[in-house]
Subunit: 457 residues, 2 copies
């Protein structure tokens, strides 16, 4: 199959002189990313030499130091750290789970992992009867009489019919987030949560969960979807089956950590800031490749692209590696706090935290007027596969900027079909990322930043 | 990150009653594909139980029988075969290539594979000095005096700056297709062609090549991109290096084979045919997962979707598994030939032959008026990630229909970033395909067929 360049040519010819200049710059940005980017080799380093890097871990300290250096090498005018205190949860030994038959004479091992923030089981593990609930709403129906003293098995699957997989995630993740505290209110002694993914495999997906003051903290783990399907079937036939699991995770005192911030000074509006970032922390069980090594190396590449092409943006561009998005969001909060303290003028912020997949557009949280401006740039961005500007939402790390300063925020929207296959698992590794898809994401943000810097929102 | 459904709701509400019905049907099609599709398990069977299936091989016969059965099981009103004679080229033993230093005392082995249709080397292999050419145009510059008696190493890389990777493929593939016959005109004794891919790895990419009547047939192989980069560097420092390769591929007499055709009879315009298809043959070195098992199982799923949802299309839908796209196109030619012979009325044909990746739109070869109708359906298709209707081109198997009957033809356009990583290699396997991305492709074709059947083009 051969394709012509007629689309490009036709689009380019229809623009005014000004737009032609923008389109030329955007073309240069993409060309540079697809030929000179260091995103892929940077991601390899971050994943393979540093690896999983949950806030408070020695790996995050290494990651902070490496990112500082990489931002310098990308040519930033300045690089500095923003100190913040972060939670420090550790997983401990590899978790074990077994399902025992009614007579307790045989068992099947199932793949689990502790949810982030969970308390440990007793040292010898926890054994109890198990009861299935399809989401949190089921707890009320089941009632205390059926739940007390048992382990609740939350088994609501993600809805596969949403085209954008984040829609389905938003609903199904509630049982992971709040399952333990809600089940504890009914006297449950532990929870096992179906992994929030559309993939059918043996990988348990971790992720953060929360307790509630005054409610007993019970241990919570994720089970793989294959494990969940098996368990759901099994306990239908063996009502006396028991579930055993053993975890020795714990929450240690808060640790000192950092956001890493790089700047390219604006040529005429130095005090007007456009932030671009991802989060540097990642779950400890994988390498944090899609979540969110991709966002980090793409943000570094934005700096490299501007310097490599000697582009002079009117506004200051800040590439930020946020700390602790996964289980606290302290880096994002600190960033907004300092912005307020220093009376900074933030005209836009963009985050890449939906994986290093082929970009398709940007979601945004901003006024209708600002959204109209964003959409007016569509003809310039569509030749690069950026078609979708309809969805709402910015990234978690820049949400505080939006809430507290009213900054318009955006998130890079890559194709979402594969994201939850890898999300928070041992298979979120460097090899799961495609070089070109990764590079296109960095270029997409660099192009949008150019337009925002030139014309404002 | 949570996304709302506001995009969907806003789009749906803006349509007329008729459009609402269409949008409801399209939503059902996608829901069904994402919950009940057999595409993924069908692809697993085709890849793992049958595997590589080059025209004329015993595997293609198995594939024909399996496809016949699968189309029946999908609920087709009728399934039948269209006989055609196909070329029968066999690779023979695994190919070997070595680069010898000037003194011939040491060597490095490099990964190669025969190009489809190549003649064998002499039994003991072929050894000669090697000369690099960056594309076919370089032959003239080098001249007979530099080429005669040597092996030409075509090393034009794919241009990475095209966003759609097929654009870069179209240019770089010429040295694979015509390199041997053109080099032979200058007295070359063999050719080694850089694999047509943007990936940097050790996989040689096969693909069809052609000889010219009256020109000596010289053996032709592909070398991996890593191998090509190494070779290019090495021969710059060691001008006396020789290249050795050994292949015992051969072309056997033509074999009988088949297109597999399934029909859903049209309710009111039974004689008006909409074809949807992919090609059943695949290179022998991999499993033909993206190229083009994906197109086959998606076409079968179109039948399943219509039957499962009890949709009654006005026109007849024909799902076709074409034979011999890779090295002859005999199935596609036969299909058009029979259409003319039977005076069939073909109102449109759609092929899926660009991989089982996340769909982004349709390319097409049709009149401006027809293209305008196609684009008028964009609001109905955009909620499913189908944004791009600008590109030209239909699939190779339906091109004869277009040329000989003027049938408007389309090709499903999935995201193209990863396609040439796998194309014609040993790693084009089932595991390289994502279940949802595959399913969305089938649903996209089913949705477009609905609109064409209802409103015509």
């Amino acid at each position: 199959m051969k394709k012509t360049n007629s689309t490009f040519i036709a689009l380019f010819m229809s623009f005014s002189i000004v737009a032609q200049t923008d389109s030329t710059i955007i073309k240069k940005i993409f060309n540079d990313a697809l030929t000179n980017s260091k995103s892929y080799s940077n991601l390899e380093y971050l994943c393979k030499k540093i690896g999983g890097r949950l806030a408070g871990s020695p790996q995050t300290q290494k990651a902070v130091e490496w990112t500082f250096k990489a931002m310098k090498e990308a040519g930033a005018d300045t690089v500095y750290l923003q100190e913040c205190m972060v939670p420090h949860w550790v997983r401990g030994d590899k978790e074990i789970a077994k399902v025992f038959t009614a007579n307790a004479k045989s068992f099947k091992q199932v793949p689990i992992c502790a949810l982030g923030g969970s308390v440990a089981t007793p040292k010898e593990g926890l054994t109890a009867k198990i009861i299935e609930a399809i989401g949190i709403d089921d707890l009320k129906k089941l009632g205390k009489e059926n739940i007390e003293g048992k382990i609740v098995f939350f088994n609501e699957p993600m809805d596969p019919t949403f085209i954008g997989t984040f829609h389905g995630y938003g609903k199904a993740v509630m049982q992971r987030w709040a399952g333990a505290k809600e089940a504890a209110k009914y006297g449950a002694v532990g929870v096992v949560v179906r992994s929030v993914t559309l993939a059918q495999d043996d990988n348990p997906h971790t992720g953060v969960m929360a307790y509630e003051d005054g409610i007993t903290k019970i241990p919570a783990c994720a089970i793989s979807t294959n494990g969940a399907n098996w368990l759901s079937n099994y306990i239908k036939s063996d009502k006396e089956a028991t579930f055993y699991f053993k975890m020795n995770c714990e929450t240690l005192p808060d640790e000192k950590s950092y956001n890493v911030v790089a700047e390219i000074y604006g040529s005429s509006k130095k005090d007007e800031i456009i932030t671009v970032g991802g989060h540097l922390d990642a779950w400890d069980n994988g390498e944090g490749a899609h979540d969110d090594g991709a966002g980090i190396v793409q943000s570094i590449d934005v700096v490299r692209i501007y310097k490599s092409l000697q582009l002079k943006p009117k506004c200051t561009i800040r590439a930020v590696a946020f700390m602790n998005e996964e289980n606290g969001g302290r880096g994002g909060k600190k960033y907004a706090e300092l912005a307020i303290l220093k009376k900074e003028k933030h005209i836009a912020a963009i985050e890449s935290d939906a994986g290093g997949f082929s970009p398709r557009g940007f979601s945004s949280s901003m006024s209708a007027k600002q959204k109209a401006i964003l959409k007016s740039w569509k003809p310039l961005l569509e030749p690069y596969g950026l078609h979708d500007f309809e969805n709402d939402g910015g990234g978690a790390d820049i949400e505080p900027l939006h809430e507290q300063l009213g900054t318009p925020v955006l998130e890079l929207m890559p194709d979402s079909q594969r994201y939850f296959d890898y999300h928070h698992t041992a298979i979120d590794v460097f090899e799961a990322v495609n070089k070109r898809e990764l590079e296109l994401g960095g270029a997409s943000m660099a192009a949008l930043i150019w337009l925002i810097s030139e014309y404002g929102l």
